[in-house]
């Protein structure tokens, strides 16, 4: 580092002002919600994760986890010191002791739940929408980066499968989301002697405004110290569809309780699983995969009401983004064109295009799936319908023969994709529409019912 002449003669008080001890105190959130167990706590209650290799084992987090502790010693930089004197930076919830990004105590967080029946395409959509937002920050008007990459490992796995080798013609497919046993999706802890399996969320830092649009130079775009008023956290949840089925909300496995904190709910409606919709658009039979998605939606909002302790007659006022997935299979039949993303030339969502699309799809759903639309009206007063295709029109391939050797008998017909043919359409739109700032902006844009 170069030291100028001025630095030698800098007054002592100015020199001290730059020292970490005397810098401006960080502004913290008043209360923080744990993204795993949803408990609310003050930043002063946050536990730190010990770094010393000898401090393994925590009574709540588990014997394989590093010790969690409330620090009483700090170094001059303000970092906590564990009982062995190691500098600790990672933090954990005081109740479930699951680690979460430190940024959660510094930035506001918006919880967004991705909900849908089994097999409706939630995992594909999540991978495609986050990948899209990573790549198209200028067009989308927002920029999302992993707050702590280690905590989003599961999403990276899916993104790598679908988008990691863009020229590859090898058929790939995402695994069906497990209901338990996947260490990247769930964590089992012992709270007050009782075991609980909790979800591990996907957490992103969202930058909007000048930073996101790329008006600043790369050197100024410092993700480690974002401009406070233009950054927030987005907490996403990807559950197995089975967890949203009626009766699946268990106290020992409260993996969908995040619904109670959700700022918006993305309900992924798979039209290809609805026999009447298929008939309306002239699609062939799908081999019996007909699921009552209206019941899944009703169950979802019943849980929201229960976990928020709301009166049965209260309006929940949770924005519902109805994502019609697998549009590549039915969009031509209903004459909608998804080849152009609804972004403004200057960046950001084109609300007019969204409104037009919403109005085009609403009569179709009212006609083909009236029971589902009844459930939608009962669930929320703010609904936006967004079609999307996570993989694009050319990507689906029949791979039953390719994978048969691996899977033995009982093969029906597997569906996989060639990464070289993946072209997501409108995949990031639903997430953009549900992002905190956008929800506020469009809630009065006469898009909602």
């Amino acid at each position: 580092m170069r030291v100028g002449v001025y630095d030698w003669f800098m007054p002592v008080h100015l020199s001290l002002a730059t020292h970490p001890l005397f810098r401006e105190p960080r502004e913290l959130m008043e209360r923080v919600h744990c993204p795993s167990c949803r408990v609310s706590f003050a930043p002063s209650e946050v536990l730190f994760v010990a770094e010393d290799a000898r401090l393994v084992g925590d009574p709540v987090a588990g014997p394989a986890q590093q010790l969690r502790f409330l620090p009483t010693r700090f170094d001059v930089g303000g970092a906590a010191l564990d009982p062995e004197g190691a500098r600790c930076t990672r933090v954990a919830c005081p109740r479930c002791r699951i680690e979460f990004p430190r940024a959660m105590i510094e930035l506001p967080s918006a919880f967004i739940s991705v909900v849908g029946a089994p097999g409706c395409g939630k995992s594909h959509l999540l991978a495609a929408m986050t990948w899209g937002l990573r790549r198209e920050r200028a067009r989308a008007g927002a920029c999302m980066v992993d707050t702590e990459p280690k905590l989003n490992a599961r999403l990276h796995r899916d993104e790598n499968i679908l988008f990691g080798a863009p020229d590859s013609n090898e058929i790939v497919r995402l695994a069906k989301t497990e209901i338990s046993g996947d260490a990247l999706l769930y964590r089992t802890v012992r709270v007050k002697g009782k075991e609980e399996t909790l979800p591990l969320p996907l957490i992103f830092t969202l930058h909007t405004g000048a930073q996101a649009l790329g008006e600043l130079t790369n050197s100024e775009l410092d993700m480690a110290a974002p401009t406070k008023h233009e950054a927030s956290l987005v907490v996403l949840y990807d559950n197995a569809g089975e967890h949203f089925l009626p009766g699946a909300d268990e106290s020992t496995q409260p993996v969908t309780r995040h619904l109670s904190q959700s700022r918006a709910i993305l309900f992924v409606f798979d039209p290809t699983q609805d026999p009447r919709f298929r008939a309306a658009v002239g699609m062939s039979e799908n081999g019996g995969a007909n699921i009552r998605q209206d019941l899944v939606l009703t169950e979802t909002f019943t849980r929201v009401r229960h976990h928020r302790s709301r009166h049965a007659a209260d309006d929940l006022d949770v924005p519902l983004i109805l994502v019609l997935s697998k549009a590549d299979a039915w969009s031509k039949a209903v004459n909608i064109d998804l080849s152009v993303d609804p972004y403004l030339p200057s960046g950001g969502l084109d609300f007019a295009a969204l409104k037009k699309m919403d109005h085009a799809l609403r009569p179709l759903l009212e006609g083909a799936c009236p029971e589902f639309m009844t459930a939608v009206r009962a669930a929320s007063s703010r609904v936006l319908i967004v079609p999307c295709s996570a993989l694009g029109p050319c990507a689906t391939a029949d791979v039953g023969a390719d994978v048969g050797a691996d899977i033995g008998a009982g093969v029906t017909r597997g569906v996989g994709v060639r990464p070289s043919q993946i072209r997501p359409q409108w995949a990031s739109v639903a997430l953009l529409a549900s992002l905190p700032l956008e929800v506020d902006a469009i809630q009065n844009a006469s898009l909602w019912i």
Partner: protein
């Protein structure tokens, strides 16, 4: 009666749900037990080029259910495509009762493919149950798989020793392509049959500390979950490193290397050296008389298979007795008869002498 549950992805499960759901279970199973077993059904993601065999999770676990501890033996295997065209898995759980525990061991049960479903055909339905046949691993053979994978079968004894002392579960990192279930079965064979049910295990990673965790996981070195933990963690064992750095010593390690036959041969040689006096001792367990059951039903044939297996296992004991008794020219039974005859004669003579009449 054997209690079992099948959990896989179906368009409509036994409880009405779709996706991963209960496809079959023994009739009358309590809902709490069904839920507890369903929670054990997840299959952790494997590494990229894992074969179907390598993805299979075999486990013996203990779970709490309504205040009761259940011993559950599970086999979770990839199983074709589900109704949505995505890769499916099938979890088959069996709750083990006292009868099976008395005559089998968990690893041997898991090694018998005939006892485990590979796929589910048809709609969800209740199962009638049946009788689980006995399966018991041989306890007199050297641990060839341990020797092949780790260079010294004695490490099985060292690992066993660590598990006994460890309060939490451990992960044993095994080389790629290892036969993990065979390693578990061989290690179990070092223990007496009853003690084999005290050691829970899994052949894929199961997070330590949870209710469904196990005492030992045999973890392939390519497992992605392994990378998520510090290599220096004390509960992750590697042969040749840390707690397993030293060459195994002791009686159990010798038995792992040479088998029980080696011990017996040594005993025999020692006895010859001592002057040819053969000490006869009754075997620890004698074969119970067994009538073969003849029936055409699949359950009965399964029982028959079990009986054959049982007889095979017990045969080992009989061979053991013969070996020990070989140098003796006379059978021990006649000695007992002779002693009993002399005793009765002496009693009669005493009675006559003391004035009694016949």
């Amino acid at each position: 009666m054997s209690v079992e549950l099948i959990h896989t992805s179906l368009a409509s499960g036994l409880d009405g749900g779709s996706g991963y759901t209960v496809a079959g279970r023994t009739g009358g199973m309590p809902a709490a037990m069904s839920d507890a077993l369903s929670r054990l059904s997840g299959l952790p993601p494997a590494w990229n080029d894992a074969t179907r065999e390598e993805k299979i999770l075999c486990a013996f676990r203990r779970v709490e259910c309504a205040g009761q501890s259940l011993s559950v033996v599970s086999r979770i295997t990839p199983s074709g495509m589900d109704y949505t065209g995505r890769a499916n898995r099938l979890s088959h759980h069996r709750v083990i009762d006292a009868r099976v525990m008395s005559e089998s061991d968990p690893a041997a049960l898991l090694e018998d493919d005939a006892l485990w479903r590979q796929e589910w055909v048809g709609a969800a339905r209740e199962l009638s149950g049946g009788i689980l046949p006995a399966r018991l691993a041989r306890d007199d053979a050297p641990l060839h798989t341990w020797e092949r994978e780790f260079g010294d079968a004695g490490f099985a004894a060292s690992v066993l020793d660590i598990i006994m002392k460890s309060g939490i579960g451990v992960w044993l990192v095994v080389p790629a392509m290892s036969k993990r279930l065979r390693l578990a079965a061989e290690m179990m064979s070092l223990l007496p049959q009853k003690q084999r049910w005290q050691f829970t295990f899994a052949t894929r990673p199961v997070a330590p500390g949870s209710e469904s965790s196990v005492k030992i996981c045999f973890v392939d070195e390519r497992e992605p979950e392994l990378a998520a933990h510090s290599a220096a963690s004390a509960w992750i064992l590697r042969v040749g490193v840390g707690a397993l750095a030293a060459q195994p010593v002791g009686e159990l390690a010798d038995r792992a290397r040479h088998g029980r036959g080696h011990e017996l041969a040594n005993d025999k040689a020692n006895a010859r050296e001592a002057g040819g006096q053969i000490q006869w001792s009754p075997p620890a367990k004698l074969a119970a008389p067994h009538e073969p059951e003849l029936c055409d039903t699949p359950q009965a044939s399964a029982m028959q298979v079990g009986a054959v297996e049982r007889a095979k296992n017990l045969g080992e004991v009989v061979i053991q007795v013969r070996r020990v008794a070989e140098p003796s020219s006379s059978s021990g039974v006649w000695k007992w008869f002779a002693m009993a005859f002399i005793l009765i004669a002496a009693l009669v003579w005493l009675a006559v002498k003391s004035g009694g009449t016949l």
